[in-house]
Amino acid sequence: MPWDVVAKILFMLLVVMAAILPVITWIERKQSAVMQDRIGANRADIGGLTVLGLFHPLADVAKLFAKEDFVPAGANRFMHLLAPVISIVPAIVTLAIVPFGGLYVFGDSHWNLVIADLDWGLLYVFAVGSLATYGAVIAGWASNNNWSLLGSLRASAQMISYEVTMGLSVVGIFMVFGTLKLTDMSFAQDTTFRLLGFIEHFGWVDELPAFLSWIQLPTWGIFLQPLGFIMFLTAIMAENKRPPFDAPEGESEIVSGYHLEYSGMRFGLFYTAEFLEIPVIGMIVTTLFLGGWSIPFVPQETLIAAIGGVFGEGLATGLCMIAHVSVFFVKVIVMIWLQMTIRWTLPRFRYDQVMDLCWKIILPLSLANVFVTGFAILVVRSVV
C-alpha cells in the first residue's frame, strides 16, 4: 500500500468532501439571500445555536436519509440505482490529478503534492468527466417517465456538445505550456514575464525604460489565454448543468428533468455530484489559468531562499509548502465564489440558446483561438 498516496487522498477528501462541500450548500443559499436582499437559511439549530445557518447542511443530510427510497413502477430497478452512482464517481475521481501543491525536497524524500501525476493529465479530466453523461442518460431512461427522458436527452446533448468546445478551448493552453501534464503547467506558471517585453524583443527599442520594464505579470494561463479562460469556464460550467445552463433540469418546462423520479439519498447523490463539481471546476480552472498553487511574483526558489536564512532549509521548505497549499485553496474559493455569482446573476438560457452558444460561438472562436495562439507563439519564438 503506497501510504503517501493514501495520505494525500485522505487530505483531499477531507478538505473537499468534509469542509468545502457542506459549506458550498450553505453558501449557495446564503449568497443568493444576500444578492436578493433576503435573510436566507438561519433556522437549523443545535441546542438553540444557529451560527448563521451553518447547520443546514447537516439538516439536509438528515432529511435526505429519512426520505422514502422511492422507485417508480415500470422503472428498471438496477439502472435506477446505478445512475446516481455513475454521476458521483467521476466527480470524486477527477480529484486524483489536481496538483494542490508543488514538488518539495526534504533531504532525501520528495513530496509531490498530487495524488496521481499522470502524463496525460488534462485528457484524464475530459475522459472521466465524459463518464458523468452516462449518469444523466441512464437516470432518464431507467425512470420510465416522459419528463425524465426529455431531461436526460437534453442533458446528454448539452454535455457532449460542451465536451467538444471544452477540449478545443484549452488547446491554446497546451501550446503555450507545451504539456498536457497539470503539474508541469503549475510549475510553468510559477514565474513572471514583462508585459511590454515584446517591444524590446522586436527591436523597436534597444532597452525598455526601467519603469516600463517593471510592469510584470505572472505567466498565468488567464494572462496568456484570456479568451481561452472565458470559453473554458463557460464550457465547463455548462458541463455541470447548473444555472444558467440548467436546461436539462428546467423545472418550469420539464418539471425536474432526469431527477424527477428520484428521492432521498438517490437524489442526494446527484445533488452531491453537482455540488462536488463546483470545487472540482474551481481546481481545474485554477490549475490551468490561475497559476495553481503558485504565489504571484514570488517563485518557489525565491521564497525558500528568502526565508531559508531565518528558519533553515527544511523548515523553510515546509512553510513554503503550507503557503502554496493555502494559496491554492484560496484561489479555488475565489473560483467557487465566481461560479456562485454567475449562477445567481444570470437567468436560465433557453435550450436553443445553450446549443447555439456552444456550436455557433464558442466552437468557431476556439478554433480561431488555436491558430491565433499558434501564430503569436511562432512570431515571438522567431525573435526571442
Binding site: F70, V93, A96, W147, L149, G167, V255, G268, V370
Partner: protein, 117 residues
C-alpha cells in the same frame, strides 16, 4: 509506470464505497410505504398515456453524430498542441490544412440547418 496509477485506483474504490455506503444507509433508515398510486410515473396528475421508451427527436442523434466527428478531430489537437513549439511553422500549416475539412463540415452543417433547434 504503473505506480502512478495507484492513486487513481484507490480513489476509484473510495468513490464507489462513498456512493455505496450512502445508498445502503439510506436503504436502512428510510421508511417504506408503497401503494400503486404513488408508484405511478409522475405526469402532473395525469395517467401516463405514452411510454417514454419510444422514438424521440432526431436532432439529438444529429448532435451525437456531430459530437463524434468533432471530438475525434479535437483529440488530434491535443498532442499537436503539446509539441507545437517543436513542430514550428511546419506543424502550424499542417494543422491549418487539417482544420479545413473541419471548418467546411461545420459551415455545411450550419447552412443545412443542422445546428438549429
Amino acid at each position: 509506470m504503473l505506480a502512478d496509477y495507484s492513486g487513481v485506483v484507490i480513489l476509484l474504490v473510495v468513490a464507489f464505497i462513498v456512493a455505496g455506503v450512502m445508498l445502503l444507509v439510506h436503504q436502512l433508515l428510510s421508511p417504506r410505504r408503497e401503494f400503486p398510486e404513488k408508484q405511478e410515473p409522475f405526469e402532473c396528475g395525469e395517467q401516463q398515456i405514452v411510454s417514454p421508451h419510444q422514438r424521440f427527436a432526431v436532432k439529438f442523434y444529429l448532435v451525437a453524430i456531430l459530437f463524434v466527428v468533432f471530438d475525434v478531430e479535437a483529440v488530434f489537437f491535443y498532442p499537436w498542441g503539446a509539441i507545437f513549439t517543436e513542430l514550428g511553422w511546419y506543424g502550424f500549416w499542417i494543422m491549418a490544412v487539417f482544420t479545413v475539412p473541419l471548418v467546411v463540415g461545420l459551415a455545411y452543417e450550419w447552412l443545412k440547418g443542422g445546428l438549429e433547434w
